[in-house]
């Protein structure tokens, strides 16, 4: 901080807990005063009876919550919102997360009382509108991906992965093929893939990548035997490259009796460009919060519908929605793996994705992917001197560059310095096959000027790395807090407010 800025700073105690540009607000518990309150409820208008005293909270077990006014709550969360970077405020090129613009019409549709207040257990005849949306979304996702059937049950991508692997497992079991214990997972995969394999009761076998960033086909073929239940593959993969020999990959797995799971995390690159179902994939998930613009919500909710070919469709989780005559209704697929969550899926997210797909149509969907891919390649080109992509070829929707090119500064230093320039950082240190990776995904909603400014900022940061490395080591300085000590957080674990 400059001397002037220091002298001009208002003493903390007098700043009414907060002044513009100040650090994050205090906790609600810290501004709580006994007896202060926000929302009031109506008086009880029915005859009152005694509560069951033996089941109630004891005096030594009081209910403690902050006591604040409605204005306190509004200011608190409004100020907290100012401490966030978000798609609505800045470029957020967080690779593999597809941080595209989230249309506001989605929110208007989802908050329609007929949908927001629709109880999941009303009779089907009283929910025909909601069921129509689900049915049509199932059909549209199947068409986009090249599969025969879709279940909207899974609540997020990772749950979609679990769904897919459980379906593969159920298929093998239905054939009494019990010797299959392994799932092949490329070393470039998201951590959710191997974690899913474990949850599904299988063992992960890691397959290396080749020099081009694709699955090493020889290593894959060598691993394919009668103990392999299947392969999980992300295509385009996590280094942003299309698996050029994808059909040979899926054939190799099929020839050894396994099935292929497609991780749809990177579907944003191939809408209307190619359909996973046409490439030998047997089952895949969609991340509606990535490809289909439902808001990421600071970590969720998402939705992870799963599509399957004819072989696996009977194993989909239920219920799924059918159309019989003019009536929509639920049905459990014949050999369903069961339920993944209560009720029918994250309907509010499904409705948003439905609106998004309807507004785009087939040409609009293809335009999304074309623009996502051209933006990624243009940015890759603009940064080829500062942060060259690890694999020197045309990429899909994202690219990955090793962040360890500049002596004395780390990938994390670069990421933190980007925050000072007002950009969110790319994904860092993932995928694991690229050392100290920076993973950049601009998405289709960004314009050329933003990409050019971002590339120029990276050039400046590279110059700073040489001339003023302290600027990177000390970054960020313009955020509500400076660099946070993650090690101390683990050492001195504080997971809640302590009185």
């Amino acid at each position: 901080m400059s001397d002037t800025k220091k002298e001009a700073a208002v003493p903390k105690r007098l700043a009414a807990n907060y002044s513009f540009g100040d650090p994050i607000p205090p906790l609600l518990y810290e501004i709580s005063r006994d007896g202060r309150r926000a929302v009031r409820l109506p008086d009880c208008d029915v005859p009152q009876i005694d509560l069951p005293s033996e089941l109630l909270r004891a005096d030594d077990d009081p209910l403690r919550l902050p006591e604040v006014s409605e204005q306190d709550v509004v200011r608190h969360f409004t100020r907290l919102s100012h401490a966030n970077m978000a798609i609505d405020t800045t470029f957020y090129p967080l690779g593999s997360c597809t941080m595209k613009y989230n249309p506001k019409v989605n929110e208007v549709a989802a908050s329609h009382p007929a949908f927001a207040n629709g109880h999941p257990l009303v009779r089907e005849e009283d929910a025909q509108g909601s069921l129509a949306i689900m049915y049509r979304l199932q059909r549209m996702l199947a068409e986009i991906s090249g599969f025969s059937a879709v279940s909207l049950q899974p609540a997020a991508g990772a749950q979609g992965e679990l769904t897919g692997i459980l379906m593969i497992r159920a298929w093998h079991e239905s054939r009494r093929d019990e010797k299959r214990t392994k799932i092949l997972v490329p070393d470039s995969a998201h951590g959710t893939n191997p974690a899913t394999v474990t949850m599904a009761g299988y063992e992960t076998v890691e397959i290396p990548s080749d020099a081009e960033g694709n699955v090493d086909l020889d290593a894959l073929r060598a691993a394919c035997d009668e103990t392999v239940a299947g392969l999980m593959i992300t295509n385009p993969n996590t280094v942003g490259l299309f698996e050029t020999r994808i059909e040979e990959v899926t054939r190799a797995v099929h020839e050894c009796g396994g099935l292929v799971y497609g991780d749809g995390a990177n579907l944003n690159a191939i809408l209307g460009v190619v359909r996973p179902g046409d490439l030998g994939i047997d089952v895949m998930h969609f991340n509606l919060h990535k490809t289909f613009s439902t808001p990421h919500g600071g970590g969720g909710p998402g939705a992870g519908p799963v599509a399957a070919n004819e072989t696996l469709a009977p194993f989909l989780p239920g219920p799924v929605v059918d159309l019989t005559g003019e009536r929509y209704g639920f049905r459990q697929p014949e050999q369903s793996i069961g339920r993944l969550k209560a009720f029918h899926g994250n309907f509010g997210m499904l409705l948003r994705a439905y609106v998004y797909i309807r507004m785009h149509g087939p040409d609009g969907l293809r335009a999304i992917s074309e623009n996502a891919v051209i933006n990624a390649n243009y940015l890759r080109k603009l940064t080829e001197k500062t942060f060259p992509a690890k694999y020197d070829r045309i990429c899909m929707h994202e690219f990955v560059s090793p962040g360890n090119r500049y002596e004395g500064v780390t990938t994390m230093d670069i990421a933190k310095r980007l925050l000072d320039y007002g950009f969110h950082a790319p994904t860092v240190y993932f995928p694991l096959i690229v050392r100290d990776a920076l993973m950049v995904e601009p998405t289709e909603s960004e314009n050329r000027e933003t990409l050019e400014i971002f590339a120029e900022v990276l050039e400046r940061i590279v110059t700073e790395a040489k001339d003023r490395p302290d600027l990177l080591h000390d970054a960020p300085v313009s955020t509500p807090v400076r660099r946070l000590d993650e090690v101390a957080a683990v050492k001195n674990l504080k997971l809640r407010y302590e009185r």
Partner: protein
């Protein structure tokens, strides 16, 4: 249409920089025979057109504003204060993602920390995570955590009153892991006797699926004596007035947080509440926000204990969960702060009083009984048995714009004449009377 940043002129400049002729050239890696399929989808719509269509679809849903619904069964219509949607709808929250760059995401991480703190206080527990998909998946992951925390134990006991859909979800999650599910009955001694040396945990829902309240004092000690963990699944609203799960000795507490300011929204997105003891935190799935300091010694918040999670630990992670229900946790935090301890107690008390008023009036309708005629303690939900089949009663009441409850035959085919009726604070006495009038009229019509 598409939400694109670039113009045709931009795209030309970008292609030139890439030394490409056409956009199609970017996709040469894709097998030519499979490239650019014709998608059979309806043509694009403008915002105006889609909103018209949404209105038409909305009209296909039954009811409308006059409809009075008393369906609960795991998803409840509670009053949602105006500020909940107003604040949680802010783009700075809604369009951010997982706070991987904590310095640029303090709004999200501090909110999670405050959510964890408030829910921990509500439940009387030491640690709460940043959320699961819903109550059902929280229960399933609690079972997995219990198996991992108790060496050599490979089964779990589910009490009879666990939501039937939660039971199904637990089966989906546990079967591939080779964990057996055993039914434990509902009386305390039955439950305790079902716990043996292979049991990792006993899972009890309270209030149970039928709304009944159970006296759980002593249960935790008995379960611990047998070397197992106690998992309690609770209604966070009820917890405002009932003995906290922590005070009852629970090791893991789960809940459906939908009641805390989240619309029923035809089944999701909801909020899986998950809490445990400090001593078990390293076995816990899900994200956790923790307090730390920045380079100048000021307080800040980060995601912590990441080495439990899939992005670090991969196949050895405590769960595959990544995306959670962050925005729903924000809604719950705003809801809890807006009500405060007094407001939340009032919500719980109003639910209790109104449900009991409805139950006592319905019990007086000729031919009807409540909770099998037994004087069972219950919270906001109860079982109504009628002389008609539940389906017929529901169809009759629908003519009067009332949905009197859920037909229990949905989950228990033999219970053809039973409904599960939920009454929350948001129903006025006049609305409850309308329910009673509808049930009286429809049952009376048939009896006459």
């Amino acid at each position: 249409m598409a939400y694109l940043g670039n113009t045709d002129a931009d795209r030309r400049i970008m292609l030139e920089a890439l030394r490409l002729e056409r956009i199609e050239d970017l996709f040469a890696d894709i097998p030519a025979a499979k490239r650019f399929p014709e998608l059979d989808l309806p043509p694009a719509m403008s915002e105006l057109e889609i909103l018209h269509e949404i209105d038409e679809l909305a009209a296909m849903n039954g009811g409308g504003p006059r409809l009075l619904s008393f369906v609960g069964a795991g998803a409840y219509q509670h009053y949602i204060p105006s500020i909940v949607s107003f604040l949680s709808g802010r783009g700075e929250f809604a369009t951010a993602y997982t706070p991987y760059q904590a310095e640029a995401s303090q709004g999200t991480v501090q909110t999670i920390f405050e959510y964890q703190s408030m829910v921990a206080d509500l439940l009387g527990m030491e640690v709460v995570n940043a959320s699961h998909y819903d109550g059902a998946t929280a229960v399933a992951e609690a079972a997995i955590m219990a198996v991992r925390s108790t060496r050599g134990r490979d089964s779990v006991v589910l009490a009879e009153g666990l939501h039937p859909e939660y039971h199904e979800v637990a089966a989906t999650y546990l079967r591939p892991q080779g964990v057996a599910i055993r039914a434990g009955g509902s009386a305390a001694d039955e439950l305790i006797n079902a716990v043996d040396e292979r049991t990792a945990c006993l899972i009890v829902q309270n209030p149970d699926f039928f709304g009944r309240l159970h006296d759980l004092s002593g249960l935790a000690d008995a379960v611990h004596e047998r070397g197992a963990l106690l998992v309690l699944h609770v209604d966070p609203i009820a917890t405002a007035i009932l003995a906290s799960p922590g005070s009852l000795g629970a090791d893991i507490v789960t809940g459906e947080g939908q009641s805390l300011g989240i619309p029923v929204s035809y089944g999701g997105p909801y909020l899986g509440v998950f809490a445990t003891r400090r001593s078990l935190v390293r076995k816990m799935p899900g994200r956790l926000a923790g307090e730390t300091t920045d380079a100048e010694g000021r307080r800040g918040f980060v995601l912590t204990l990441n080495t439990r999670e899939q992005h670090i630990r991969r196949e050895k992670a405590t769960s595959n969960i990544c995306t959670n229900q962050g925005l729903m946790a924000l809604r719950a935090a705003i809801y809890l702060a807006s009500l405060g301890p007094q407001g939340l107690r009032e919500v719980a008390t109003l639910c209790y009083q109104k449900a009991h008023y409805a139950a006592s009036r319905l019990a007086a309708v000729p031919g009807c009984t409540v909770n099998g005629g037994e004087d069972t303690p219950f919270f906001k939900e109860f079982v109504l048995s009628t002389p008609l089949t539940a389906d017929d009663l529901i169809a009759g009441c629908a003519q009067r714009d009332v949905i009197p409850g859920l037909a229990l035959s949905r989950y228990y085919p033999e219970r053809t004449h039973d409904l599960l009726v939920a009454v929350t604070e948001q129903y006025s006495r006049a609305q409850i009377d309308a329910l009673v009038d509808a049930v009286t009229a429809v049952t009376g019509d048939t009896q006459a």
